[in-house]
Point group: C2
Chain length 364, copies 2
């Protein structure tokens, strides 16, 4: 099957670009002696998780119990759930998974630790625990070395839990390189203080797990970090291009769309709206637009209805016609993939693979 | 099963409120002699489409061929695809569906009409056609009575097509009542001119199909409109409350979320982010926030990560704790439902029904 045979909208992944992205990150981690634990929320596809492991990833990261389950069923046995899992059914399921695989959880409260411990203990399972550090994103995590030590000590005493170390998510680092360097100074102060505190208390930190795609290739510049969890790097997206982390030619994933209406002057309407691309905003520049229209820098994907992409083509030299097919790089690839039941792996014009997004919709 | 037994995040629908919403719209349509053809994109659930028909809807509206297929399989046989369907595979499928049910399509170009005609003709199917009018939203549609007449005349001559009338989507009417009334004046001018033009040309307009939930109860105020296609009214959402179309107590759908972290001061983090609620913005007021936190008007759901809702609780009198369960009314219900594989129908604390969102992911 050819790409041109696919009905639109269709999410396609350029396999050559994806493989290059995977190799680059794996090579970097090897060169800096960092454990690579990709966050699979960006694709939710077991085959791709396995490809990441084949490239040298130690294990994977997921956000949800349901995602962990899908990955475990596919044979992946080293999984970090980078989320403070809470709820009786979830804790039960977590403990059950931990009887079959190496499962760790990042958490920032004794309430979550206690609930997981209860179920792990009942099932004779061991669940690894990372204490989450708030490095300034102000989402989850403790921002104080004393509180982190107390949490670690108390969690370590709970049956069924193995304290493993620290984890942080630098979500506010989705900015340009200069700003990231400035932010890093403060983060390193906190990380160093915390590591000294744990050392003095005699609690080993086997793992200090850092970010995410924007900081991935700077992982070695964070104090004590020995693991990174990038997600988007497998595909990249407009946001990553916007902050200078990737070039357009590093974007492996795109949406093939068809122009369905040109009746309104200055507009070309494509069959890809917020239920195809997601309504995630652009996080760089002036924040405008919902994707890069490949081959036409003067066309702006200005607005999304659920099933319509509204392109402003007033400044385009191209004359759009109904039936024209376009290639769009979305703002935020994780939320784009999450809209779809299947995506296509392509090489040149050939469709090589169809992947089911098996972890999609596992909201719990 | 009780609502409190549901693992979170969970999308729940208050059946009493939903039934009231359905009755109110059906009663209005009966009283004004308007055909009700609800847009099922808001729920994508055949059982709910059937409930709408039981309340008096003539048929339904969908956005995609895949959605039409799901609804037809469930026994619904009068379906408007309010979208300019384009693509060979889609046209084939459309013609096939039209051999089994009454299928109409809204379109605004001869290219789309011709492609549908080709396939309908090959399969001996009849497809109804509505010419789309651009009433000012500047998405799809023709904004000129002469062009509309030419399109209708040409479409009517194509084999396999039955020209039925006009359709418009007043997407820009998602504003307060006073502004809607002002906008309506211009729309009525265009509609009246167009209807006169068609009358003089001897082309009957069996159907003049108007909006959408914000204009639904004003349907009778649009010139010549004899059908309306509201979608969100079944559930309502924060946007509908924002423009004064619904009260909070008319919102049937909400997301049950759990607080998973309170470690960062001034924050309570819930397990519902953009992959649960969607990242659709609030379209009223200052545009801030991603939902109404029921019972706490001073808590602001300020920011969404994929799986985290960041609540600013600096101004809340309530002390949030890990494990607290909250009820959130999302900004835009259509895109919230679209995130989920199943949603729950509840009455009081009882979970009465589980619905599969069977039309979800049918992006083509």
């Amino acid at each position: 099957m050819l790409v041109s045979d696919l009905e639109t909208p269709a999410v396609v992944v350029d396999l050559d670009v994806m493989e290059r992205n995977l190799s680059r990150m794996a090579d970097y981690c090897r060169s800096k002696n960092l454990v690579l634990r990709p966050h699979t929320k960006s694709h939710k596809i077991p085959e791709l998780a396995k490809r990441q492991i084949a490239h040298g990833a130690r294990g994977i990261t997921v956000a949800k119990i349901g995602e962990a389950e899908v990955m475990l069923e596919a044979g992946i046995t080293d999984i970090l759930i980078a989320y403070p899992v809470f709820g009786t059914g979830k804790a039960e399921k977590l403990a059950e998974l931990a009887t079959r695989a190496h499962i760790s959880v990042a958490l920032d409260s004794l309430e979550v630790a206690q609930a997981i411990s209860n179920e792990a203990n009942r099932k004779n399972a061991r669940v690894g625990v990372l204490a989450e550090v708030d490095v300034g994103f102000r989402r989850c995590g403790l921002a104080n070395e004393d509180e982190l030590l107390i949490l670690a000590q108390k969690a370590a005493e709970l049956p069924g839990l193995d304290f493993k170390g620290l984890m942080f998510f630098p979500g506010h680092f989705q900015v340009a390189e200069k700003e990231r360097a400035e932010l890093r100074t403060g983060v390193n102060d906190l990380l160093s203080r915390t590591q000294k505190k744990f050392e003095r208390a005699g609690i080993p930190l086997h793992t200090v797990s850092g970010g995410s795609t924007p900081t991935a290739l700077e992982g070695h510049l964070f104090s004590g970090v020995n693991e990174i969890r990038p997600g988007m790097y497998i595909f990249n997206d407009r946001n990553m291009v916007g902050i200078g982390i990737a070039r357009v030619e590093d974007c492996a994933l795109s949406v093939i769309a068809t122009v369905v209406s040109t009746s309104v002057s200055g507009r070309a309407i494509v069959d890809s709206g917020s239920k195809t691309l997601s309504s995630d905003r652009h996080l760089a520049g002036d924040g405008r637009g919902f994707g890069i229209v490949k081959g036409d820098p003067n066309a702006e994907l200005e607005h999304l209805s659920e099933e319509h992409g509204h392109m402003n083509v007033n400044f385009s030299a191209r004359k759009y016609r109904v039936g024209d097919r376009l290639t769009i790089i979305p703002n935020h690839v994780c939320n784009t993939v999450n809209m779809h039941n299947r995506i296509y792996g392509v090489r040149g014009e050939q469709v090589e693979t169809v992947w089911e997004v098996a972890g999609r919709g596992k909201v719990q």
